[in-house]
């Protein structure tokens, strides 16, 4: 139902579990699944999601301890008397969710939206960040 996003040690390959196709399986409404880039570094995880046509006030992000859920409503500015020459009928709602590892600090999620790309940054819990250990002399 949701994707697995877990920072792993460098020698283990990342796996993504996803049984859904592009349209979600919600019975009341079908959703578009935005394509995502996810990368990790020492400080945390960053997601970039393509959500064109979504305004900032139409994005909903929910993060609890284990799940990150992202929704966005697409708004098409319609002029009066506008008729389609060709337009695919597709859902007007983006939705995708991810399973998060316990290493991530979901209370400090940062999100920004630019040119239809939503960037979400979740830092690793401070106490779990790799730390350089100074070796004392003597």
């Amino acid at each position: 139902m949701s994707d697995q996003v877990t920072p792993r040690p460098a020698n283990k390959p990342a796996t993504e579990r996803s049984g859904e196709n592009r349209e979600g399986r919600d019975t009341t409404q079908s959703f578009l699944r935005p394509p995502v880039d996810i990368f990790e570094d020492a400080d945390g995880i960053t997601l970039h999601l393509d959500m064109p046509g979504v305004a900032r006030d139409r994005v909903k992000i929910d993060a609890d301890r284990q799940t990150l859920s992202i929704e966005g409503a697409i708004q098409i500015p319609m002029a009066e008397g506008m008729e389609a020459i060709y337009a695919e009928v597709h859902s007007t709602q983006y939705r995708r969710s991810f399973t998060l590892s316990g290493e991530l600090d979901t209370e400090r999620v940062d999100a920004s939206l630019n040119d239809g790309v939503l960037t979400v940054r979740i830092p690793r819990r401070a106490e779990l960040r790799p730390r350089k250990i100074e070796v004392r002399a003597g």
Partner: protein, 167 residues
């Protein structure tokens, strides 16, 4: 005995791979013609370390969804192209075809950064949208907002069709 020759085996392997690649691209070509160009190929620039990198060799594709609407006065085209700089977008109308070209830059290689998932396409792309013929392309307006390119082209013919009497 010839079949055990490593040179023969390697050329067979290369032929097999070439055939498989041809088959793959044929499949893509069929898909392209079926989806009115919506599935757009993104070409990445060759980078120095690209030879052994499978990611560079395989084409990257993305759906650049497009819609074409009309009002009494104009034709409106919307194409989804998220994450672009305005300066990297090239929009032109040739005859009655709208052409949107551009380059979507990736974040670049960063040391200490490891990708877990990479679904978004980046690189050079081109998307064409056929337009109706009765348009005034000199007065087209283009805006880029929320990752959507909107082109508004006024129509040249807004009068109803002329009825002719059959003698």
């Amino acid at each position: 005995m010839k079949k055990m020759d490593p040179k023969y085996l390697r050329s067979e392997l290369e032929r097999g791979i070439a055939r498989a690649w041809e088959g793959l691209t044929e499949g893509w070509r069929e898909m392209l013609s079926g989806s009115s160009g919506a599935l757009t190929r993104f070409r990445r620039r060759a980078s120095k370390g690209a030879e052994g990198n499978a990611g560079e060799q395989f084409p990257s594709w993305s759906l650049l969804q497009a819609e074409c609407w009309e009002t009494a006065q104009s034709v409106i085209v919307r194409v989804e192209v998220p994450g672009m700089n305005k300066e990297d977008l090239d929009v032109s109308i040739q005859g009655s075809t709208l052409c949107i070209r551009g380059e979507k830059h990736s974040e670049g290689e960063h040391k200490g950064r490891r990708y877990l998932l990479m679904e978004r396409a980046y690189g050079r792309f081109e998307r064409t949208v056929p337009l109706p013929s009765h348009i005034d392309r000199k007065h087209a307006e283009v805006t880029y907002h929320s990752g959507v390119v909107t082109v508004i082209v006024p129509k040249t013919e807004t009068l109803p069709p002329q009825r002719l009497t059959v003698k």
